[in-house]
């Protein structure tokens, strides 16, 4: 079963057209192995993206280099998944 230890979901809110364009570029970058949970729509609209642990530092550096602010929506995805599994097992019992 695929696990997601250390993966984070970042919330990025593009503040202007330049940052919007940056987000669109990010969507097209395969090397970061990003999984967009909420895609790029418009200025001031949140973009949520899952970042694998091995690319976290690079992605954050990329965003910071472009002066793009982000927040961590989910700090460790696997923690939530484990909790979900435990709740399912508990409910089944």
């Amino acid at each position: 079963k695929k696990t997601f230890e250390g993966h984070q979901v970042l919330r990025i809110i593009p503040k202007d057209d330049a940052q919007l364009s940056l987000m669109k570029n990010l969507e097209d970058m395969n090397e970061f192995e990003l999984d967009f949970w909420r895609g790029v729509t418009g200025v001031s609209m949140p973009v949520d993206v899952r970042v694998p642990i091995h690319n976290l530092e690079s992605v954050k550096m990329y965003l910071e280099a472009q002066n793009t602010e982000y927040s961590v929506m989910i700090k460790d995805l696997q923690v939530l998944l484990d909790r979900e599994q435990e709740e399912m097992k508990s409910a089944a019992r």
């Binding site: 079963k1 695929k2 997601f4 979901v9 919330r11 395969n30 999984d35 967009f36 949970w37 909420r38 895609g39 790029v40 729509t41 949140p46 949520d48 899952r50 929506m73 989910i74 995805l77 939530l80 998944l81 909790r83 979900e84 709740e87 399912m88 409910a91 089944a92």
Partner: protein
């Protein structure tokens, strides 16, 4: 076998496996033979049945409402809500005057799990899988985004021709059995008046078009009804939805189900994006299933009632 004995003891506040959902469907049919029946409209790529529950109080080929859930398999709140919707319909028929009037004159078709292969995969292998599980010839990447596979500017902007993309459209319109089965069903029925697709999690209510910025012919009515629906939804817990055309409120997307439905002449075509509030995304905790389904139902009821009150 399900551990649940009947649909009253079924745990609606938990997420369930595909086999449990199939068992639930059979239980609901067995308990309500005069109201609910199960139609198998086709098979998924991996051979799973594509089950649709039909809620009908009689008549022949009555005008009908289509509701589907789970086109993107990782959006678990949608399949869970579908279970709740089904129970809600049988519970409210005969007690809620609005739903009773609708069902005395119209049928409701509910497909709780459009993408069963993907859903099974989210339970067994990868919780975050979105697409189908059909291999793509010439690529190591698996699956098609079923909400880019419809014959509505198929392959246009907002869909990907790259099999590894999460918005891969597939090789041709309706190439996927999960989509083709619905297309054939809706066309052969010929009297579907509303087509409602339930997604998560960005709190949106969208109407056609997605593939073009050109307004739909019925945009004014669709917009006004969307406002009513999101207002009703918000009345319960204050959950705020944005509404508008798919193109304006979200982004350009081609090959989507509601655009296809609208172009077939189904005026009331909407996509709902259920809640999260920016905390859990696709991993909405199970204790939010019932509140989410309950508020979503208010929006669905607004659209269904309007459809009933405004025959065309």
């Amino acid at each position: 076998a399900s551990q649940h004995r009947n649909t009253d003891s079924f745990d609606y506040s938990s997420y369930h496996t595909l086999s449990e959902i199939y068992s639930f469907q059979d239980m609901l049919v067995a308990e309500n033979p005069n109201l609910v029946s199960k139609i198998v409209i086709g098979q998924s790529y991996e051979g799973r049945p594509l089950n649709v529950l039909k809620f009908s109080t009689g008549g022949t080929n009555r005008p009908a409402i289509w509701i589907d859930n789970g086109i993107h398999s990782r959006e678990w709140i949608t399949q869970a809500s579908g279970i709740w919707f089904a129970k809600k319909i049988v519970t409210d028929y005969g007690t809620d005057p609005t739903l009773t009037a609708i069902l005395d004159n119209m049928d409701i078709f509910l497909e709780m799990v459009i993408n069963p292969d993907g859903f099974y995969y989210t339970h067994t292998t990868n919780r975050l899988w979105r697409k189908t599980r059909k291999p793509n010839p010439g690529s190591s990447c698996i699956g098609v985004d079923l909400n880019r596979n419809w014959d509505a500017d198929f392959g246009g902007p907002g869909a990907s021709s790259y099999p590894c993309s999460i918005t891969y459209s597939g090789p041709s319109a309706h190439s996927e059995s999960e989509v083709k089965s619905i297309v054939d069903f809706v066309k052969s029925h010929g009297n579907i008046k509303a087509f409602l697709s339930v997604h998560s999690y960005s709190q949106l209510l969208l109407y056609p078009y997605g593939y073009t910025m050109t307004p739909a012919e019925d945009q004014a009515e669709l917009d006004s009804l969307a406002l009513k629906a999101v207002t009703d939804l918000a009345s319960l817990y204050g959950t705020t939805y944005t509404y508008g055309s798919f193109f304006d409120a979200l982004y350009q997307g081609s090959g989507t189900s509601i655009d296809w439905a609208y172009n077939q002449g189904i005026k009331y075509a909407y996509t709902l994006e259920q809640r999260d509030t920016g905390t859990y995304g696709f991993l909405l905790p199970a204790n939010q299933i019932i509140p989410t389904a309950t508020e979503t139902w208010l929006a669905l009821m607004a659209i269904m009632d309007h459809t009933y009150q405004n025959p065309y």
